[in-house]
Protein backbone atom coordinates (compact mmCIF):
# COMPACT_ATOMS: atom_id res chain seq x y z
CA UNK A 1 0.00 0.00 0.00
CA UNK A 2 1.38 3.44 -0.93
CA UNK A 3 1.22 6.46 1.30
CA UNK A 4 -1.56 7.89 -0.79
CA UNK A 5 -3.80 4.87 -0.42
CA UNK A 6 -2.99 4.53 3.27
CA UNK A 7 -4.06 8.14 3.81
CA UNK A 8 -7.28 7.49 1.90
CA UNK A 9 -7.99 4.42 4.06
CA UNK A 10 -7.65 6.34 7.28
CA UNK A 11 -9.85 9.05 5.90
CA UNK A 12 -12.56 6.53 5.04
CA UNK A 13 -12.34 4.97 8.50
CA UNK A 14 -12.65 8.35 10.10
CA UNK A 15 -15.84 9.00 8.16
CA UNK A 16 -17.47 5.54 8.36
CA UNK A 17 -16.73 4.92 12.02
CA UNK A 18 -19.06 7.58 13.39
CA UNK A 19 -21.69 6.68 10.83
CA UNK A 20 -21.67 3.04 11.88
CA UNK A 21 -21.82 4.00 15.53
CA UNK A 22 -24.79 6.24 14.85
CA UNK A 23 -26.63 3.53 12.98
CA UNK A 24 -25.99 1.07 15.83
CA UNK A 25 -27.20 3.52 18.42
CA UNK A 26 -30.31 4.27 16.41
CA UNK A 27 -31.13 0.59 15.98
CA UNK A 28 -30.68 -0.06 19.70
CA UNK A 29 -32.95 2.81 20.57
CA UNK A 30 -35.62 1.55 18.17
CA UNK A 31 -35.44 -1.93 19.65
CA UNK A 32 -35.81 -0.63 23.16
CA UNK A 33 -38.85 1.37 22.18
CA UNK A 34 -40.71 -1.45 20.45
CA UNK A 35 -42.39 -4.49 21.93
CA UNK A 36 -41.68 -7.75 20.06
CA UNK A 37 -44.54 -9.01 17.94
CA UNK A 38 -46.64 -11.80 19.47
CA UNK A 39 -46.04 -15.38 18.23
CA UNK A 40 -47.89 -16.27 15.05
CA UNK A 41 -49.21 -19.64 14.03
CA UNK A 42 -47.65 -19.93 10.61
CA UNK A 43 -45.09 -22.59 9.89
CA UNK A 44 -42.09 -20.32 9.78
CA UNK A 45 -42.62 -18.89 13.24
CA UNK A 46 -43.06 -22.14 15.09
CA UNK A 47 -40.27 -23.91 13.29
CA UNK A 48 -37.70 -21.68 14.94
CA UNK A 49 -35.80 -22.57 18.11
CA UNK A 50 -37.78 -22.60 21.32
CA UNK A 51 -36.39 -20.27 23.95
CA UNK A 52 -35.13 -21.95 27.07
CA UNK A 53 -37.30 -21.26 30.07
CA UNK A 54 -40.41 -20.53 27.96
CA UNK A 55 -44.00 -21.57 28.70
CA UNK A 56 -43.95 -25.40 29.12
CA UNK A 57 -47.37 -25.77 27.48
CA UNK A 58 -46.22 -23.66 24.56
CA UNK A 59 -43.15 -25.85 24.18
CA UNK A 60 -45.33 -28.97 24.14
CA UNK A 61 -47.67 -27.45 21.57
CA UNK A 62 -44.83 -26.29 19.37
CA UNK A 63 -43.12 -29.67 19.53
CA UNK A 64 -46.32 -31.40 18.48
CA UNK A 65 -46.77 -28.97 15.65
CA UNK A 66 -43.23 -29.58 14.45
CA UNK A 67 -43.86 -33.32 14.49
CA UNK A 68 -46.99 -32.82 12.41
CA UNK A 69 -45.09 -30.74 9.89
CA UNK A 70 -42.33 -33.31 9.70
CA UNK A 71 -44.93 -35.91 8.79
CA UNK A 72 -46.28 -33.63 6.08
CA UNK A 73 -42.79 -33.13 4.69
CA UNK A 74 -42.17 -36.89 4.69
CA UNK A 75 -45.43 -37.47 2.87
CA UNK A 76 -44.61 -34.86 0.25
CA UNK A 77 -41.16 -36.36 -0.24
CA UNK A 78 -42.72 -39.78 -0.78
CA UNK A 79 -45.09 -38.35 -3.37
CA UNK A 80 -42.22 -36.64 -5.16
CA UNK A 81 -40.24 -39.87 -5.21
CA UNK A 82 -43.15 -41.82 -6.64
CA UNK A 83 -43.54 -39.30 -9.44
CA UNK A 84 -40.01 -39.99 -10.63
CA UNK A 85 -39.53 -42.65 -13.36
CA UNK A 86 -39.90 -46.11 -11.87
CA UNK A 87 -37.97 -47.89 -14.57
CA UNK A 88 -34.34 -47.50 -15.36
CA UNK A 89 -35.00 -47.37 -19.07
CA UNK A 90 -37.82 -44.88 -18.87
CA UNK A 91 -37.16 -41.25 -19.36
CA UNK A 92 -39.48 -38.32 -19.16
CA UNK A 93 -39.00 -35.17 -21.09
CA UNK A 94 -38.93 -31.81 -19.47
CA UNK A 95 -42.37 -30.43 -18.79
CA UNK A 96 -43.91 -28.04 -21.24
CA UNK A 97 -43.81 -24.36 -20.57
CA UNK A 98 -47.01 -22.66 -19.50
CA UNK A 99 -47.02 -20.78 -22.77
CA UNK A 100 -46.72 -23.96 -24.78
CA UNK A 101 -49.45 -25.64 -22.80
CA UNK A 102 -51.74 -22.69 -23.30
CA UNK A 103 -50.99 -22.60 -26.99
CA UNK A 104 -51.94 -26.22 -27.56
CA UNK A 105 -54.98 -26.99 -25.44
CA UNK A 106 -55.91 -29.97 -27.59
CA UNK A 107 -53.87 -32.31 -25.42
CA UNK A 108 -54.66 -32.34 -21.74
CA UNK A 109 -54.53 -34.57 -18.72
CA UNK A 110 -57.72 -36.44 -17.99
CA UNK A 111 -57.23 -36.12 -14.24
CA UNK A 112 -54.76 -34.53 -11.87
CA UNK A 113 -51.27 -35.97 -12.35
CA UNK A 114 -51.45 -39.61 -11.50
CA UNK A 115 -48.81 -41.71 -9.83
CA UNK A 116 -47.07 -44.59 -11.52
CA UNK A 117 -46.72 -47.57 -9.26
CA UNK A 118 -44.19 -50.28 -9.97
CA UNK A 119 -46.58 -53.18 -9.45
CA UNK A 120 -45.48 -56.32 -11.25
CA UNK A 121 -48.83 -56.91 -12.88
CA UNK A 122 -50.85 -54.24 -14.64
CA UNK A 123 -54.33 -53.35 -13.42
CA UNK A 124 -57.30 -54.68 -15.32
CA UNK A 125 -57.88 -52.57 -18.41
CA UNK A 126 -60.95 -51.71 -20.43
CA UNK A 127 -59.15 -51.84 -23.79
CA UNK A 128 -55.70 -52.13 -25.35
CA UNK A 129 -54.04 -49.90 -27.91
CA UNK A 130 -51.43 -51.50 -30.11
CA UNK A 131 -50.92 -53.45 -33.26
CA UNK A 132 -52.28 -56.86 -32.36
CA UNK A 133 -55.87 -55.70 -32.30
CA UNK A 134 -55.53 -54.68 -35.95
CA UNK A 135 -54.65 -58.03 -37.37
CA UNK A 136 -55.90 -57.73 -40.89
CA UNK A 137 -54.70 -54.37 -42.03
CA UNK A 138 -56.41 -51.10 -42.68
CA UNK A 139 -58.91 -50.29 -45.41
Amino acid sequence: MTDRTRTAGWTAAAVLGPVAAAVFAGTTAWSAAHVPAPPTTDATSIAGPVAAGGDPQQIIDDTARIADLERVVASLRAQAASLAPTRAGTRADAGPTKAAAAATPSVRAARPPSVSHPAARPPAVHAVTGASSATKGKP
Binding site: T86, R87, A88, G89, T90, R91, A92, D93, A94, G95, P96, A100, A101, A103, T104, S106, V107, R108, A109, A110, R111, P112, P113, S114, V115, S116, H117, P118, A119, A120, R121, P122, P123, A124, V125, H126, A127, V128, T129, G130, A131, S132, S133, A134, T135, K136, G137, K138, P139
Partner: protein, 333 residues
Amino acid sequence: MTTTMTSTVRLRAMATDVTLTVVEAAEQARPALDRAAAEFTRIEAACTRFDPTSPLMTANAAPQERHVLPPECFEAVAEAWHAYQQTEGLFDPRVLDTLVRLGYDRTLSFAGGAVAVRPPLTSDEPTPGVRPGAPDRPVAGPWRPELDAARHGVRLGDHPIDLGGIGKGLAVRRAATELATLGVPFLVEAGGDLAVGGDGPDGEGWLIGVEDPLPVADHRPDLVAVLRLADLSCATSSVRVRNWQADGRTVHHLIDPRTGDSSRTGLRSVTVVATDAAAAEVWSKALFILGRADIGAACRARDLAALWVQDDGTVGASAAMRGHVVWEAAHAA
Protein backbone atom coordinates in the same frame (compact mmCIF):
# COMPACT_ATOMS: atom_id res chain seq x y z
CA MET B 1 -63.26 -52.14 -11.17
CA THR B 2 -66.95 -52.50 -10.41
CA THR B 3 -69.54 -54.20 -12.56
CA THR B 4 -71.72 -51.74 -14.43
CA MET B 5 -74.44 -52.23 -17.00
CA THR B 6 -72.97 -51.76 -20.45
CA SER B 7 -74.17 -52.33 -23.99
CA THR B 8 -71.76 -53.43 -26.69
CA VAL B 9 -71.88 -53.74 -30.44
CA ARG B 10 -69.16 -55.56 -32.36
CA LEU B 11 -68.60 -55.43 -36.08
CA ARG B 12 -65.97 -56.11 -38.65
CA ALA B 13 -65.05 -53.05 -40.68
CA MET B 14 -61.93 -51.58 -42.24
CA ALA B 15 -60.43 -55.05 -42.03
CA THR B 16 -60.32 -54.86 -38.26
CA ASP B 17 -62.51 -55.64 -35.27
CA VAL B 18 -64.56 -52.70 -34.06
CA THR B 19 -66.14 -52.61 -30.61
CA LEU B 20 -68.55 -49.93 -29.43
CA THR B 21 -69.42 -49.87 -25.73
CA VAL B 22 -71.69 -47.56 -23.77
CA VAL B 23 -72.54 -47.53 -20.07
CA GLU B 24 -76.24 -47.64 -20.72
CA ALA B 25 -79.04 -50.16 -21.12
CA ALA B 26 -79.25 -51.63 -24.60
CA GLU B 27 -82.70 -50.36 -25.49
CA GLN B 28 -81.75 -46.74 -24.82
CA ALA B 29 -78.35 -47.08 -26.46
CA ARG B 30 -79.28 -49.05 -29.57
CA PRO B 31 -80.05 -46.15 -31.97
CA ALA B 32 -76.80 -44.36 -31.18
CA LEU B 33 -74.82 -47.60 -31.37
CA ASP B 34 -76.30 -48.32 -34.79
CA ARG B 35 -75.46 -44.84 -36.06
CA ALA B 36 -71.92 -45.17 -34.74
CA ALA B 37 -71.48 -48.55 -36.42
CA ALA B 38 -72.77 -47.12 -39.69
CA GLU B 39 -69.99 -44.54 -39.68
CA PHE B 40 -67.42 -47.31 -40.00
CA THR B 41 -69.13 -49.08 -42.87
CA ARG B 42 -69.79 -45.81 -44.70
CA ILE B 43 -66.20 -44.55 -44.43
CA GLU B 44 -64.82 -47.96 -45.32
CA ALA B 45 -66.91 -48.08 -48.49
CA ALA B 46 -65.69 -44.64 -49.52
CA CYS B 47 -62.02 -44.90 -48.57
CA THR B 48 -60.92 -48.50 -49.05
CA ARG B 49 -58.02 -49.11 -51.39
CA PHE B 50 -58.78 -52.82 -51.65
CA ASP B 51 -61.87 -52.27 -53.80
CA PRO B 52 -60.99 -50.92 -57.26
CA THR B 53 -64.49 -49.50 -57.61
CA SER B 54 -64.42 -47.44 -54.40
CA PRO B 55 -64.53 -43.65 -54.73
CA LEU B 56 -60.94 -43.41 -53.50
CA MET B 57 -59.63 -45.89 -56.03
CA THR B 58 -61.61 -44.27 -58.81
CA ALA B 59 -59.84 -41.02 -58.01
CA ASN B 60 -56.52 -42.82 -57.61
CA ALA B 61 -56.83 -44.30 -61.08
CA ALA B 62 -56.62 -40.79 -62.52
CA PRO B 63 -55.19 -38.61 -59.75
CA GLN B 64 -54.51 -35.63 -62.01
CA GLU B 65 -58.14 -35.37 -63.00
CA ARG B 66 -60.88 -33.70 -61.00
CA HIS B 67 -63.26 -36.01 -59.13
CA VAL B 68 -66.36 -35.38 -57.06
CA LEU B 69 -66.24 -37.58 -53.97
CA PRO B 70 -68.77 -38.68 -51.37
CA PRO B 71 -68.64 -36.49 -48.25
CA GLU B 72 -66.83 -39.14 -46.22
CA CYS B 73 -64.08 -39.58 -48.79
CA PHE B 74 -63.70 -35.85 -49.35
CA GLU B 75 -63.41 -35.32 -45.60
CA ALA B 76 -60.70 -37.96 -45.43
CA VAL B 77 -58.72 -36.34 -48.24
CA ALA B 78 -59.09 -32.93 -46.60
CA GLU B 79 -58.00 -34.40 -43.27
CA ALA B 80 -54.98 -36.02 -44.91
CA TRP B 81 -54.05 -32.72 -46.52
CA HIS B 82 -54.33 -30.98 -43.14
CA ALA B 83 -52.19 -33.70 -41.54
CA TYR B 84 -49.58 -33.41 -44.29
CA GLN B 85 -49.25 -29.71 -43.55
CA GLN B 86 -49.29 -30.09 -39.76
CA THR B 87 -46.56 -32.72 -39.78
CA GLU B 88 -44.49 -30.96 -42.44
CA GLY B 89 -44.80 -33.93 -44.76
CA LEU B 90 -44.03 -36.73 -42.31
CA PHE B 91 -47.61 -37.87 -42.75
CA ASP B 92 -47.86 -38.29 -46.52
CA PRO B 93 -50.70 -40.37 -48.02
CA ARG B 94 -48.75 -40.67 -51.28
CA VAL B 95 -46.74 -43.55 -49.81
CA LEU B 96 -49.32 -45.84 -51.42
CA ASP B 97 -46.91 -46.47 -54.28
CA THR B 98 -44.33 -47.80 -51.86
CA LEU B 99 -46.83 -49.98 -49.98
CA VAL B 100 -47.93 -51.59 -53.21
CA ARG B 101 -44.40 -52.19 -54.42
CA LEU B 102 -43.57 -53.83 -51.09
CA GLY B 103 -46.42 -56.24 -51.74
CA TYR B 104 -49.09 -54.69 -49.51
CA ASP B 105 -51.54 -54.36 -52.39
CA ARG B 106 -54.22 -56.52 -50.81
CA THR B 107 -55.47 -57.42 -47.35
CA LEU B 108 -52.75 -59.51 -45.73
CA SER B 109 -53.59 -62.06 -43.04
CA PHE B 110 -51.15 -60.96 -40.38
CA ALA B 111 -53.10 -62.88 -37.74
CA GLY B 112 -51.89 -66.12 -39.23
CA GLY B 113 -48.23 -65.54 -38.37
CA ALA B 114 -45.34 -64.80 -40.69
CA VAL B 115 -46.39 -63.34 -44.03
CA ALA B 116 -44.33 -63.43 -47.19
CA VAL B 117 -45.29 -61.76 -50.43
CA ARG B 118 -43.86 -61.74 -53.91
CA PRO B 119 -40.86 -59.52 -54.54
CA PRO B 120 -41.56 -55.81 -54.89
CA LEU B 121 -42.96 -54.74 -58.17
CA THR B 122 -40.94 -52.98 -60.78
CA SER B 123 -41.99 -49.52 -61.82
CA ASP B 124 -43.20 -50.79 -65.18
CA GLU B 125 -45.52 -53.49 -63.86
CA PRO B 126 -49.14 -52.35 -64.13
CA THR B 127 -51.03 -52.30 -60.85
CA PRO B 128 -54.51 -50.91 -60.21
CA GLY B 129 -54.22 -47.47 -58.69
CA VAL B 130 -50.51 -47.15 -59.33
CA ARG B 131 -49.36 -45.43 -62.47
CA PRO B 132 -46.68 -47.22 -64.48
CA GLY B 133 -43.38 -45.51 -64.16
CA ALA B 134 -44.20 -43.88 -60.86
CA PRO B 135 -41.15 -43.43 -58.63
CA ASP B 136 -40.48 -46.09 -56.01
CA ARG B 137 -38.05 -44.01 -54.02
CA PRO B 138 -38.66 -40.94 -51.83
CA VAL B 139 -41.90 -39.19 -52.62
CA ALA B 140 -40.79 -36.44 -54.96
CA GLY B 141 -41.79 -32.87 -54.35
CA PRO B 142 -44.45 -31.29 -52.20
CA TRP B 143 -48.03 -32.53 -52.31
CA ARG B 144 -50.42 -29.96 -53.72
CA PRO B 145 -53.91 -31.40 -54.00
CA GLU B 146 -56.78 -29.19 -55.12
CA LEU B 147 -59.86 -29.34 -52.90
CA ASP B 148 -63.26 -27.81 -53.59
CA ALA B 149 -65.14 -28.02 -50.31
CA ALA B 150 -68.39 -26.70 -51.74
CA ARG B 151 -68.67 -29.47 -54.33
CA HIS B 152 -66.52 -32.12 -52.63
CA GLY B 153 -64.26 -32.01 -55.66
CA VAL B 154 -60.61 -33.02 -55.55
CA ARG B 155 -57.63 -33.28 -57.82
CA LEU B 156 -55.15 -35.48 -55.98
CA GLY B 157 -52.04 -34.52 -57.92
CA ASP B 158 -49.37 -36.71 -59.44
CA HIS B 159 -49.73 -39.74 -57.17
CA PRO B 160 -52.49 -41.96 -55.79
CA ILE B 161 -53.02 -41.82 -52.05
CA ASP B 162 -53.77 -44.15 -49.14
CA LEU B 163 -56.47 -43.09 -46.67
CA GLY B 164 -56.28 -46.19 -44.48
CA GLY B 165 -55.03 -44.74 -41.22
CA ILE B 166 -56.78 -41.42 -41.44
CA GLY B 167 -60.01 -43.11 -42.51
CA LYS B 168 -60.01 -45.19 -39.38
CA GLY B 169 -59.27 -42.16 -37.25
CA LEU B 170 -62.17 -40.32 -38.85
CA ALA B 171 -64.51 -43.26 -38.27
CA VAL B 172 -63.54 -43.38 -34.59
CA ARG B 173 -64.10 -39.63 -34.32
CA ARG B 174 -67.53 -39.80 -35.95
CA ALA B 175 -68.60 -42.83 -33.94
CA ALA B 176 -67.56 -41.09 -30.74
CA THR B 177 -69.61 -38.05 -31.73
CA GLU B 178 -72.66 -40.26 -32.16
CA LEU B 179 -72.20 -42.04 -28.83
CA ALA B 180 -71.56 -38.78 -27.01
CA THR B 181 -75.18 -37.81 -27.70
CA LEU B 182 -76.23 -40.38 -25.08
CA GLY B 183 -74.53 -38.41 -22.33
CA VAL B 184 -73.07 -41.53 -20.73
CA PRO B 185 -69.54 -42.98 -20.69
CA PHE B 186 -68.56 -44.80 -23.89
CA LEU B 187 -65.64 -46.53 -25.56
CA VAL B 188 -64.89 -46.84 -29.28
CA GLU B 189 -62.22 -49.38 -30.23
CA ALA B 190 -61.00 -49.98 -33.75
CA GLY B 191 -57.74 -51.78 -34.24
CA GLY B 192 -55.76 -49.87 -31.66
CA ASP B 193 -57.44 -46.53 -32.31
CA LEU B 194 -59.61 -45.58 -29.37
CA ALA B 195 -61.91 -42.85 -28.21
CA VAL B 196 -63.42 -42.69 -24.74
CA GLY B 197 -66.17 -40.52 -23.33
CA GLY B 198 -66.75 -39.73 -19.69
CA ASP B 199 -64.99 -41.17 -16.69
CA GLY B 200 -65.48 -44.84 -17.51
CA PRO B 201 -67.86 -47.42 -16.09
CA ASP B 202 -66.85 -46.80 -12.48
CA GLY B 203 -66.17 -43.08 -12.60
CA GLU B 204 -62.41 -43.46 -12.32
CA GLY B 205 -61.51 -43.08 -15.97
CA TRP B 206 -61.03 -45.58 -18.76
CA LEU B 207 -57.95 -47.74 -18.26
CA ILE B 208 -56.19 -48.37 -21.57
CA GLY B 209 -53.30 -50.79 -21.86
CA VAL B 210 -50.41 -49.99 -24.19
CA GLU B 211 -49.31 -53.15 -25.90
CA ASP B 212 -45.67 -54.24 -25.78
CA PRO B 213 -44.47 -54.12 -29.42
CA LEU B 214 -41.62 -56.54 -28.77
CA PRO B 215 -41.93 -60.32 -28.72
CA VAL B 216 -43.18 -61.06 -25.25
CA ALA B 217 -41.42 -63.51 -22.95
CA ASP B 218 -43.39 -65.62 -20.50
CA HIS B 219 -42.31 -63.68 -17.45
CA ARG B 220 -43.24 -60.31 -18.87
CA PRO B 221 -46.65 -58.71 -19.06
CA ASP B 222 -48.00 -58.03 -22.50
CA LEU B 223 -48.32 -54.35 -21.70
CA VAL B 224 -45.69 -51.68 -21.29
CA ALA B 225 -48.01 -49.18 -19.63
CA VAL B 226 -51.58 -48.48 -18.61
CA LEU B 227 -53.15 -45.08 -19.26
CA ARG B 228 -56.13 -43.51 -17.57
CA LEU B 229 -58.19 -41.47 -20.00
CA ALA B 230 -61.41 -39.49 -19.95
CA ASP B 231 -62.94 -37.70 -22.93
CA LEU B 232 -59.84 -38.40 -25.00
CA SER B 233 -58.60 -40.50 -27.90
CA CYS B 234 -55.44 -42.46 -28.47
CA ALA B 235 -53.77 -44.37 -31.27
CA THR B 236 -50.69 -46.54 -31.61
CA SER B 237 -48.40 -47.04 -34.58
CA SER B 238 -46.51 -50.27 -34.15
CA VAL B 239 -44.62 -52.81 -36.23
CA ARG B 240 -45.41 -55.74 -33.96
CA VAL B 241 -47.94 -57.32 -36.30
CA ARG B 242 -48.09 -55.65 -39.66
CA ASN B 243 -44.72 -56.67 -41.00
CA TRP B 244 -43.89 -59.16 -43.72
CA GLN B 245 -41.15 -60.61 -45.85
CA ALA B 246 -40.64 -59.03 -49.22
CA ASP B 247 -37.73 -59.79 -51.48
CA GLY B 248 -35.88 -61.54 -48.66
CA ARG B 249 -36.13 -58.78 -46.09
CA THR B 250 -38.57 -57.76 -43.39
CA VAL B 251 -40.63 -54.69 -44.18
CA HIS B 252 -43.59 -53.03 -42.48
CA HIS B 253 -46.44 -50.68 -43.28
CA LEU B 254 -45.11 -47.48 -41.73
CA ILE B 255 -43.48 -45.89 -44.76
CA ASP B 256 -41.05 -43.01 -44.41
CA PRO B 257 -41.82 -40.61 -47.28
CA ARG B 258 -38.28 -39.29 -47.02
CA THR B 259 -36.77 -42.64 -47.99
CA GLY B 260 -39.60 -44.44 -49.77
CA ASP B 261 -39.09 -47.48 -47.58
CA SER B 262 -40.29 -48.92 -44.27
CA SER B 263 -39.31 -46.52 -41.52
CA ARG B 264 -36.21 -47.63 -39.61
CA THR B 265 -35.56 -44.95 -37.06
CA GLY B 266 -35.04 -46.91 -33.85
CA LEU B 267 -38.66 -47.18 -32.72
CA ARG B 268 -41.03 -50.15 -32.40
CA SER B 269 -44.18 -48.28 -31.43
CA VAL B 270 -45.54 -44.85 -30.64
CA THR B 271 -48.78 -44.18 -28.75
CA VAL B 272 -50.33 -40.72 -28.81
CA VAL B 273 -53.17 -39.35 -26.68
CA ALA B 274 -55.14 -36.41 -28.07
CA THR B 275 -58.60 -34.94 -27.95
CA ASP B 276 -59.29 -36.12 -31.50
CA ALA B 277 -58.92 -39.65 -32.84
CA ALA B 278 -57.70 -38.61 -36.27
CA ALA B 279 -55.07 -36.34 -34.73
CA ALA B 280 -53.88 -39.19 -32.49
CA GLU B 281 -53.61 -41.46 -35.54
CA VAL B 282 -51.70 -38.87 -37.55
CA TRP B 283 -49.23 -38.00 -34.83
CA SER B 284 -48.54 -41.56 -33.77
CA LYS B 285 -47.48 -42.27 -37.34
CA ALA B 286 -45.57 -39.01 -37.84
CA LEU B 287 -43.64 -39.39 -34.58
CA PHE B 288 -42.83 -42.99 -35.44
CA ILE B 289 -41.38 -41.88 -38.76
CA LEU B 290 -39.57 -38.99 -37.13
CA GLY B 291 -37.70 -41.53 -35.03
CA ARG B 292 -35.98 -42.05 -31.73
CA ALA B 293 -33.50 -39.21 -32.01
CA ASP B 294 -36.05 -36.45 -32.47
CA ILE B 295 -39.29 -37.67 -30.93
CA GLY B 296 -38.67 -36.11 -27.52
CA ALA B 297 -37.96 -32.66 -28.92
CA ALA B 298 -40.98 -32.85 -31.22
CA CYS B 299 -43.25 -33.72 -28.31
CA ARG B 300 -41.92 -30.83 -26.28
CA ALA B 301 -42.29 -28.39 -29.15
CA ARG B 302 -45.93 -29.33 -29.75
CA ASP B 303 -46.90 -30.43 -26.25
CA LEU B 304 -47.82 -33.88 -27.58
CA ALA B 305 -48.73 -36.68 -25.20
CA ALA B 306 -46.71 -39.63 -26.53
CA LEU B 307 -45.25 -42.87 -25.22
CA TRP B 308 -42.78 -44.81 -27.34
CA VAL B 309 -40.84 -48.06 -27.25
CA GLN B 310 -37.41 -48.13 -28.82
CA ASP B 311 -35.84 -51.05 -30.66
CA ASP B 312 -33.97 -52.05 -27.49
CA GLY B 313 -37.19 -52.09 -25.44
CA THR B 314 -36.53 -48.83 -23.64
CA VAL B 315 -39.72 -46.88 -23.01
CA GLY B 316 -39.89 -43.12 -23.28
CA ALA B 317 -42.74 -40.75 -22.51
CA SER B 318 -43.31 -37.08 -23.05
CA ALA B 319 -44.15 -34.81 -20.15
CA ALA B 320 -47.70 -34.41 -21.47
CA MET B 321 -48.16 -38.19 -21.41
CA ARG B 322 -46.91 -38.60 -17.85
CA GLY B 323 -50.17 -37.43 -16.36
CA HIS B 324 -52.03 -40.31 -18.03
CA VAL B 325 -49.70 -43.15 -16.99
CA VAL B 326 -51.03 -45.08 -13.98
CA TRP B 327 -48.87 -48.18 -14.42
CA GLU B 328 -45.76 -49.11 -16.35
CA ALA B 329 -43.91 -52.35 -16.70
CA ALA B 330 -41.09 -52.82 -14.25
CA HIS B 331 -39.21 -55.30 -16.41
CA ALA B 332 -35.84 -54.18 -17.70
CA ALA B 333 -35.48 -53.37 -21.33
